[in-house]
């Protein structure tokens, strides 16, 4: 089947999509956007978190066809647009980089989208609120301490 959707502001027409394919597969394998990650593909790890119509979802649990006609934002679409600087980062991305919240980095795209969403809803989260908001994003490298540091730093930068 053919699906049409807008990803990071760009319209995509995707052909030959098998109906069983997930949005994650379509993004990664058909649209050249591998930023959302495939750590479990069963909605447990959060590494594939993207926005669908502004709502964070596990892209692995969304059939690609369900995204037809909709807007998707991935980690690749968070950096400020139009700055002309390819290395320009969103403050959440900058904070993860500076605070050492990235080791292998496989969880990072999902955590960055989840943090982005948290700080839109709650610009000044307490530590328990951060932990609750990110409880669906597994990280195996960091022990989460530097992720906490990064979220606090991003919140401060965005305020």
């Amino acid at each position: 089947m053919r699906i049409q959707l807008t990803v990071n502001g760009t319209r995509h027409d995707v052909d030959d999509v098998w109906p069983g394919e997930s949005l994650l597969y379509a993004l990664r394998e058909r649209m050249g956007l591998p930023g959302a990650k495939n750590a479990c593909e069963q909605g447990e790890c959060g590494s594939c978190t993207v926005y669908l119509e502004g709502v964070p979802v596990c892209a692995c649990l969304v059939p690609a066809g369900q995204a037809h006609g909709r807007e998707v934002t991935t980690v690749e679409g968070l950096a400020p647009e139009g700055s002309g600087d390819e290395t320009a980062l969103h403050p959440v991305q900058q904070a993860f980089l500076e605070k050492g919240a990235v080791q292998c980095g496989f969880c990072t795209p999902g955590l960055i989208v989840s943090t982005h969403d948290l700080l839109q809803r709650n610009p000044d989260p307490s530590d328990p609120e951060i932990r609750e908001a990110l409880a669906g994003n597994l990280c195996r490298c960091t022990g989460y301490e530097k992720i906490m540091d990064a979220v606090r730093a991003a919140a401060e930068a965005l305020r």
Binding site: A39, T87, Q103, C107, A135, G143
Partner: protein, 761 residues
Amino acid sequence: MTSTDSIPGAKTGGGRVGDSPLRPDGTLKVTGQFAYSSDLWHEDMCWGVTLRSPHPHARILGIDTTEALATPGVYAVLTADDVPGENAVGLEHLDTPALARDIVRYEGEPVALVAADHPETARRAAKKIVVTYEELPALTDPRRALDPDAPQVHEQGNLVREVTIRRGDASPTAPVVVSLEFEVGMQDQAFLGPESGLAVPAEDGGVDLYVATQWLHVDQAQVCRVLGLPPEKVRLTLAGVGGAFGGREDLSMHVHACLLALRTGKPVKMCYSREESFYGHVHRHPAWLRYEFGAQPDGRLVYGKADILFDGGAYASSTGAVVGNGGTLGLGPYDFPSVHVTARGVYTNNPPCGAMRGFGCVQAAFAHEALMDELAEAVGLDEVEIRALNGMREGDRNITGQLIDSAAPVAELIRTVRDLPLPPERTSTDLRELPGGVSNTTHGEGVVRGIGYAVTYKNVGFSEGFDDYSTARVRLEMSGGEPVVTVHTAAAEVGQGLIAVEQQIARTELGVERVVVHPKDTTVGSGGSTSASRQTYVTGGAVKAACEAVRTTVLARAGQRCGQTGLRLDGDKIVATSGEVVATLVEVLGDDAVEETVERRHRPTRPIDPETGQGDAHVQYAFSAHRAVVDVDVELGLVKVVALDTAQDVGKAINPDAVVGQIQGGSAQGMGLALMEEIVVTDGHVRNPSFTDYLIPTILDMPPMQIEVLEYADPHAPYGVRGVGEPPTISSGPAVAAAVRAATGKALRRVPIRPEHITGT
């Protein structure tokens, strides 16, 4: 993988040794641009999948691939009959078929491969392969493995390795004797990036493999053997690695993708699902441990005895080295006049077990630390002072008779964690701060606090006479009017930060700001394994040595040019002893590059004596201590870790932020084993191959940590470094288990500790 070219961009300092520069791959990782092995794509590529055995032990009577091959979109179906070379791989023993022939020895063993135009097509075709099995009696209890009537997993018998350590009095006695039995469950590395990669057939009849791994060259040798190709025709490049923790030391899809690529003539991508990942890599050995310590009434140890059994599963993988560590390090970082240790690893029809962070020591530490607490109670000392009293010191000999010839600050580490501030008494009834969290299982009733301690040690690098080395190629040249250094090693960056360390060392040694890290591949000599906490030491040492060789060459050229000696390199200038600039680097180099390749070995280690286990088995030891504070809902058996504080001697922190990151992440994995992580295997079948049922710590489970980093330089190691990655995983779990014992008063002789162990229900 693109090369990593970065200017310092330092958070602190100039990106040299002792600074904490930003990760050179960090920007790519936070923007989703970093190319992991599962992100690879190639024009005209197809997808490979694996068909695996559903039985723990069975004879293959026949494989019918007709219907699978007839499936539209399928390019190839391969079985053991299609292996062109020797159908045998393995890290220590070539006992593992690339594809099973005649016999399957564990549930999940690869039997056949399919390549197709879509992964779902390949999966469906794989289900159409008809394998006729005759089930065989399975050996699933390792404690029965050496019984005379046990099913034989391999023709040579079920014992993989036995190590005995004998020292001091052959039949020691002591006024105070404590003993226990302990059991450790099977932990999974649970790296997030699934096993994956891309094999591209080449015009020369060879293949280029892009893969996530821990040791490119040992993979290359194994792939060559199976393909029947020489190394120059099997070229490996490291793809982005989504964590490793030991689970990528063995081959996974490497050979399979190459077989399919060579058969189809197309690039083949393979990418495991999480379920397949649980079957597709080795796990941490489960262990059964029997310990006895004898001591004087004042608590001073007289002897230590241990009998340790590791379940190696169906194939040996690193079982030999795990047994070696369990034997030589299995009594912990204490001074024992007399020693009697036996460690065994056996074959069973359970999932194969091999490397995971801290191997051999992680299992033993749960037993020796629980027993030290028993001893403390028996002699009336506290948990800290019993460890300080018996802790190893520099100048001691360990249980294999090896002289501890650099810092061994056991007493300082354990006292340091004791002296860190404790968390305040719990007063809040905020559910988020209670065991069970927002499941609303308690408002504080039945919640008891406990504190536990542990101290451990681990060998760094490969041991027992292994020829452990790394190769570094360093080039210095002018580019765009500025000096640029290129560092080329094959040492795998798996997330730990080695590429930053390589840059820091090159900047420090050559005074050049711009350092490019060449993609990791097999066009340079082996870097050895990214394991055993060894890369900063061994590859870092090789980079340092290669930089020194480059510097020597440059200064020799400059000396010839200006007729002076005693020159030094300062950025892009050559400076005389007087401080006078005698030349610029551009004048000395011109259009030439200076390139040097160095293989660096650490001090040799020796095999241990087969009878007594005595010998200088290890090159370096690393020590750490943890203190855990837990709140336990003793009625429901739920545990919340409130604090997990630690002290570790790292010799020299090349990159202090990365050191702390290793300690935090390693501590989380140890806590996971203590409380939640276990692959449940029943009758040889894995019951929980998913992140729904195999639990790893979330951000809700991990407490804040206080971390004290000690830097007692090891005079034998480059910059004085001591391996960092593994010790935190070894001491954190036993500290958590001790804290739960303290809170509950229960013996708790098995990890992970489950709620029913606490409630007794």
